[in-house]
């Protein structure tokens, strides 16, 4: 059995792969994961794999990625960069070799140009969370709706100009006060994400866009991307596990 571990900022994703090619997927809130399975050993994080994995599971190799990978000292585990993990996962899940990858996670956004299954260029956001899952969570909370509800709307968006995730909230409240319908407010939030990532996407665009990370579950954003960019948007099943699955793929490769 092989194990892929994506130590993300909002959640930790675990993918287990058997010889049959299927994956077992588990997700933990980040704080919960470290409380239950993490301990400090020689100044580094050690993960208790016996508690984490199913009883009796024999894991041949563990590959980790994500913010925590630098600190995680797991016996036999090797760390790979997040972009590599996501591209490996996306190639495995979609069977595509030439595409642009868009990964929108809890606190960051990445765009990679993939040719023949390899990264040839990439861009990431820097020092700002205004195009990430965390931003959507905050905006949904301001609107008093769930993320699922937020992700339904793309028509008649209100215009939100703020480039800051925090000041964006005040701007959204301002629009609510003006009496715009909920659907337009939610569409405005989804469009603001699109506008933030568009400069990165335009620079590395392909005919096919593979969209991964938790934010890929937002159906409205998928619709906006395909309409505005005129490209095919592919979202793999369980897009938030792409990095963990990519780690599993790497673990199998040895």
């Amino acid at each position: 059995m092989y194990c892929g571990l994506d130590l993300g900022s909002r959640s930790v994703k675990v993918a287990l792969a058997g010889e049959d090619g299927g994956f077992t997927l588990r997700k933990f809130a980040t704080a919960d994961f470290y409380r239950r399975f993490g301990s400090c050993r020689d100044g580094k994080l050690a993960v208790d794999f016996r508690a984490l994995l199913p009883e009796g599971a024999v894991v041949e190799r563990v590959i980790s990625t994500g913010y925590g990978r630098q600190a995680a000292a797991v016996a036999g585990a090797r760390a790979i960069p997040e972009i590599k993990a996501h591209v490996l996962g996306a190639v495995h899940l979609t069977g595509l070799l030439d595409f642009t990858l868009l990964d929108l996670g809890g606190q960051d956004s990445k765009v990679a140009l993939v040719r023949k299954g390899r990264i040839v260029d990439f861009l990431t956001n820097d020092k700002c969370a205004a195009s990430t899952g965390r931003y959507l969570e905050n905006m949904a909370a301001v609107l008093g709706i769930t993320l699922e509800e937020l992700g339904q709307h793309y028509r008649d968006p209100v215009e939100l100009n703020s480039t800051c995730a925090i000041f964006g909230e005040s701007e959204l409240i301002g629009k609510m006060v003006e009496g715009h319908p909920l659907s337009s407010l939610a569409a405005g939030v989804n469009y603001s994400i699109f506008r933030r990532i568009r400069p990165m996407l335009v620079r590395l665009l392909s005919d096919t866009l593979v969209f991964t990370g938790g934010v890929a579950q937002n159906r409205a954003l998928v619709e906006i991307l395909s309409r505005e960019l005129g490209v095919k948007v592919v979202v793999p099943d369980n897009p938030q596990y792409t990095g963990a699955i990519g780690c599993c793929v790497e673990a199998k490769l040895g």
């Binding site: 960069p81 972009i83 990439f122 990431t124 820097d126």
Partner: protein, 326 residues
């Protein structure tokens, strides 16, 4: 020994030495302080905005801390306009500020006039400035050797290359002592076996505000073999005439002139990828789009804000970049 004169960036330092004064590159004074972050905070407490270049704030904090620096030469053209407000706030604090402007179009007559105005201020003549140039050139030539040993013989680390070249802006206030340091280093470096990093990188843009970039890269099998701006501080072109030297010097002039030097050096040094560093809130972030169009190698753009160590995001981006180059 004369009084200390602060510099906001590299200027014709020969003039300061000819006057018997001691130049102090304020960037170096800031970043080598035991607590550079505290100097930035000092400036913010005084009222400098949070969303402003930390180098400018650090220089302000450094001048306020070192009360023996009462005179400084500030580059008003060829660096950035934040320097203007830095000058004004320091003037308010009683510091004497002497402006120096590199002409945007590298006009020889205008540059000569600027140098002569600086000379008049310090009361020195051309023969004494030329003598200072000859003395400093002897040291610069040795630092050029450090640079050559970096890329051609692979005996010098990226950080060492950075350190010795960056110190050529003021020669640490004592060219004789600095020359001895350089001599000792060269003797040591020549005894080493060549390094074997598989990835060769160019570092372009202003020097990094974080101090562990070079080590981080080398721990991962990549080495910087070209430090663009730091090398410029050594005036790497062998023209004999002082005005011509500061006209060939690329840093204060436009990005296209800088790119001529960058493209020549990355080809000569067999570089695999380029790191373009731009300070947070710096106008040079705009120039990144030109850099990316003109350089036909993979480019990673890094942004740094406060002094300190590489943050998790930057490390992740560096890892992915190196992985891509392999």
């Amino acid at each position: 020994m004369g009084y200390r004169v602060g510099l906001t960036t590299t200027i014709p330092v020969e003039v300061i030495y000819a006057a018997g004064c001691v130049p102090v590159d304020l960037n170096n004074l800031f970043i080598t302080d035991p607590h550079p972050g505290a100097l930035v905070e000092e400036a913010e407490l005084a009222g400098y905005p949070r969303n402003l270049c930390a180098w400018i704030k650090g220089i302000y904090g450094a001048v306020m801390k070192h009360s023996d620096i009462r005179v400084l030469v500030a580059v008003t053209q060829g660096d950035c306009s934040n320097t203007h407000a830095l000058m004004e706030t320091l003037e308010l604090a009683g510091i004497k500020v002497i402006p120096f402007a590199y002409p945007f179009d590298r006009d020889r007559d205008l540059l000569k006039l600027q140098i002569e105005k600086l000379m008049a201020h310090f009361g020195v003549d051309w023969p004494s400035v030329e003598r200072a140039r000859e003395r400093l050139d002897a040291v610069r030539r040795k630092v050029w050797v450090i640079d050559r040993l970096t890329w051609e013989e692979n005996l010098v680390s990226g950080w060492e290359n950075h350190l010795y070249q960056v110190n050529c802006s003021d020669f640490k206030g004592d060219p004789d002592a600095f020359e001895r340091e350089v001599d000792e280093f060269l003797a040591r470096a020549r005894e080493r076996s060549p390094r074997r990093e598989e990835i060769r990188l160019a570092y372009i843009g202003v020097p990094p505000i974080m101090d562990d970039l070079y080590d981080y890269l080398e721990e991962r099998g990549a080495r910087v073999v070209f430090n663009e701006t730091q090398r410029q501080f050594t005036l790497p072109y062998a023209a004999a005439d002082l005005v011509e030297r500061y006209r060939l010097y690329t840093y204060p002039y436009g990005i296209f002139y800088r790119l001529e030097d960058i493209l020549r050096e990355i080809a000569r040094r067999g570089v695999h990828g380029v790191i373009h560093y731009a300070q947070s809130f710096c106008f040079r972030q705009i120039e990144d789009l030109i850099v990316r169009q003109k350089i036909r190698l993979p480019v990673l753009t890094l942004e740094g804000d406060k002094p300190g160590r590489l943050d998790a995001r930057t490390r992740m981006r560096l890892d992915a970049f190196l992985d891509m180059l392999r």
